[in-house]
């Protein structure tokens, strides 16, 4: 009896001792070498890491990069905000910047002497909350009309510039015997569906403050007509942009609306010759207003003033025009600085149409700020009501605007 008791006590003491040493070892690990370490959080993949290493060298810090799955980033950020474990540098999709800034979790970038510089105006609009800049996006993107050059040549169709041309081209390019639709876009019931409808909505005078307007109804009627003509599949209400891209690559859609992030997949597709033009406008006198895409880097309030200053320097380095071109090279996006983007388009003709449209791009949160998600929900609800035939476009917009 006594022996087993002594054995039990020794085992207990040994366990406690191991636990204590284990805890202390964990605390001291992580800061090897010289200089401070910064934690970065984003939803990219490992291919983005070299860009961080460039700036890590320049600022003289070690970086710990944490990649989170796209859809779960905001939930993770909220978790970290409540446990006060926010990263030193946080990447946010540009329409989320104002919503997170409104919580007080981000620090103004002016504290670190940063401003938007020569960036496209929409970048400032997206990253500004209550007059202060909280996020800067080094590379940006938008959406344009991709077309299959072989199919258009075979049908003798020119890339359309106006809505009438698009409608006619789509009808000509639809071939039910081959299962080929003339046009494809994403009208899914998520923010992606709202994002794809915005070029038609904004260019024709629609406004997110009140989506029930004549211009918006006309734009929605146009999209509904494309579907009812048979030029666009009825399944577009369940397609995300990735599904639209798959349809285009498989030859089931001759034209599609998508962004430059699809270029790696499009270039990898065998026997696919494609090009892109800005999304058509209704009337030749209108200028295309496409939505601004791209992610911004922010400096959360972590309480450690030195680390925050280093993080500010890091964000500044990422947004330098030289770094912008390096990042654009790895991601297929467009540098935010206007002059740099123009030079970039000369060497990269595949993104030329995107460089054109981002100049006049509009930030989704430019008017409503942190209240944008509600408006986006209303937009995709209206689009779905109209496309499924539950309501006429004008009534659909009214119902969605009034609805919850």
């Amino acid at each position: 009896m006594k022996k087993s008791r002594i054995a039990a006590v020794l085992a207990g003491v040994a366990t406690v001792a191991l636990a204590i040493t284990g805890c202390s070892a964990g605390g001291s690990g992580g800061s090897g070498g010289g200089g401070k370490a910064l934690t970065i959080e984003d939803y990219y993949t490992k291919t983005y890491d070299p860009n961080y290493q460039i700036c890590a060298k320049e600022v003289g810090v070690k970086v710990t990069i944490n990649h989170v799955a796209g859809a779960g980033l905001i939930a993770k950020v909220l978790q970290q905000a409540s446990s006060k474990t926010l990263p030193d540098v946080l990447m946010l999709d540009n329409p989320d910047v104002q919503q997170i800034a409104a919580t007080g979790a981000l620090s103004p970038l002016s504290n670190y002497g940063l401003d938007a510089g020569g960036d496209v105006k929409a970048v400032t609009a997206a990253g500004t909350y209550k007059g202060k800049l909280y996020g800067l996006a080094p590379v940006i993107n938008s959406i344009a009309l991709y077309y299959n050059t072989d199919l258009l040549q075979a049908a003798g169709v020119q890339p359309p510039k106006t809505w009438d041309e698009l409608q006619a081209a789509a009808q000509k390019l639809t071939d039910p015997s081959k299962g080929q639709y003339g046009f494809a876009m994403s009208n899914i019931n998520t923010y992606e569906g709202a994002w794809q409808f915005l070029p038609f909505f904004w260019t024709n005078g629609g406004d997110e403050k009140d989506i029930d307007s004549a211009g918006a109804a006309q734009a929605l009627q146009f999209v509904v007509d494309l579907q009812n003509d048979g030029s666009m599949s009825k399944s577009s209400v369940s397609w995300a942009q990735a599904d639209v891209n798959n349809q285009f690559i498989a030859g089931k859609a001759a034209m599609m609306i998508n962004g430059p992030w699809q270029l790696p997949a499009l270039n990898a597709a065998k026997n696919l010759k494609f090009d892109s033009v800005p999304i058509p406008v209704r009337d030749a006198s209108q200028k295309i207003t496409s939505p601004l895409g791209g992610e911004a880097f922010t400096v959360p309030v972590t309480g450690d003033k030195d680390k925050m200053a280093l993080a500010g320097k890091f964000v500044g380095c990422l947004n330098k025009t030289s770094t912008q071109t390096k990042i654009a090279g790895t991601t297929g996006n467009v540098p935010s600085d206007s002059a740099t983007a123009d030079a970039w388009a000369k060497d990269h003709p595949q993104v030329a149409s995107f460089v054109t449209v981002v100049k006049t791009a509009r930030a989704r949160t430019g008017e409503l700020g942190a209240d944008w998600p509600k408006a986006a929900t209303k937009i995709y609800t209206a689009v779905q009501l109209a496309l499924t035939g539950k309501a006429q476009p004008a009534a659909a917009l009214k119902q969605a605007q009034a609805g919850d």
Partner: protein, 316 residues
């Protein structure tokens, strides 16, 4: 009770010094009884009680993304409930939840019962087939819903290709507001059949063979044997299967999110998906909590019904 007083009386009369000892033993026994119960009580309180209470308080607060950083959630009373009851989506979600649950349970149960009756007869490979039948239940639901989304695609889906062989035009399973709910119920039935079949099969095994033999002597075979012998014998198993099925189906989320995300124009939006939308897409946790409390209340009604039905059977 009278027997207990006798020893005490004997003790009082006899060795009085033993009374404090007996009191201590009684106390220790009572304490031992409580110690057995305490871990379960703590577990239920922490993992069921606390979230429930927190959910109710959250539904009475303006709980948004800001709360996560500042910790402040201003009290708004019943404003969240008022806005969800006034919302146009409230009636839609209640109706969709009702149709989804009733449609799934009725068909899952009938098909499950028919399959269980079929497998009562042991034929070659019946054991193997029965284990194959379990497959839909074993697959992760999000994986099944992704595959079903492809199968049900209007233009290139396998189901429409198959129906096309019989001349049926491509059906918009997941994109037509009227058909989307039917498609989602269909997939849920496919998912739920294994559960019903397995439990009903084991319930049927428990019915003694002699009853059937005796009944066949009196001329009750086939349908009459089922109605007068099988059905009454498996009534308790049926109530378990139905109530568990209803409570589970009420909160189905991943299947609907994977297939339609709430459906074209909210046609497959149920209370569960609406809660998810409110809390994790729009980040209005107060309203999301209010909707989920409505769902909990509905589940509670079914739980009470189950308890009532069970009580009646004990009396019988």
């Amino acid at each position: 009770m009278t027997t207990a007083t006798l020893p005490a009386a004997r003790l009082r009369g006899g060795t009085g010094s033993r009374r404090p000892g007996r009191g201590r033993i009684r106390f220790v026994r009572g304490l031992a009884r409580w110690l057995f119960v305490v871990p379960a009580v703590v577990f239920v309180a922490v993992f069921f009680g606390y979230p429930l209470v927190k959910n109710v308080t959250m539904s009475l607060q303006h709980y948004t993304t800001t709360t996560f950083y500042t910790g402040e959630a201003p009290w708004v009373g019943f404003a969240n409930y008022a806005s969800i009851f006034a919302s146009s989506l409230f009636s839609t979600t209640i109706i969709n939840t009702g149709l989804f649950t009733i449609g799934s349970i009725v068909l899952q149960f009938i098909i499950g019962l028919l399959l269980a009756l079929f497998f009562k007869r042991h034929f070659p490979l019946s054991g193997f087939l029965r284990s194959l039948l379990l497959l839909p239940w074993l697959l992760p639901i999000i994986a099944s819903s992704a595959v079903w989304k492809w199968i049900l695609d209007q233009d290139s889906g396998a189901l429409n290709q198959f129906l096309g062989l019989f001349g049926v035009p491509p059906t918009p399973w997941l994109v037509s507001p009227s058909l989307a709910l039917v498609a989602v119920i269909g997939v849920n039935i496919w998912l739920g059949i294994p559960f019903n079949t397995t439990i009903l099969y084991s319930g049927l095994q428990a019915v003694p063979e002699e009853l059937y033999e005796a009944a066949s002597l009196d001329g009750a075979t086939g349908w009459r044997a089922f109605w007068y012998i099988t059905w009454p014998s498996i009534r308790s198993v049926v109530s378990v299967v139905v109530v568990l099925g209803v409570v589970y189906t009420l909160k189905v989320l991943d299947l609907i999110l994977g297939l339609t995300g709430g459906g074209p124009a909210n046609s497959t939006q149920t209370l569960a998906t609406w809660t998810y939308q409110k809390s994790f897409v729009l980040f209005d946790f107060g309203q999301g909590a209010a909707v989920s409390n409505v769902l909990i209340a509905v589940s509670l009604v079914f739980a009470v019904v189950y308890l009532y039905l069970n009580r009646r059977e004990v009396d019988e």
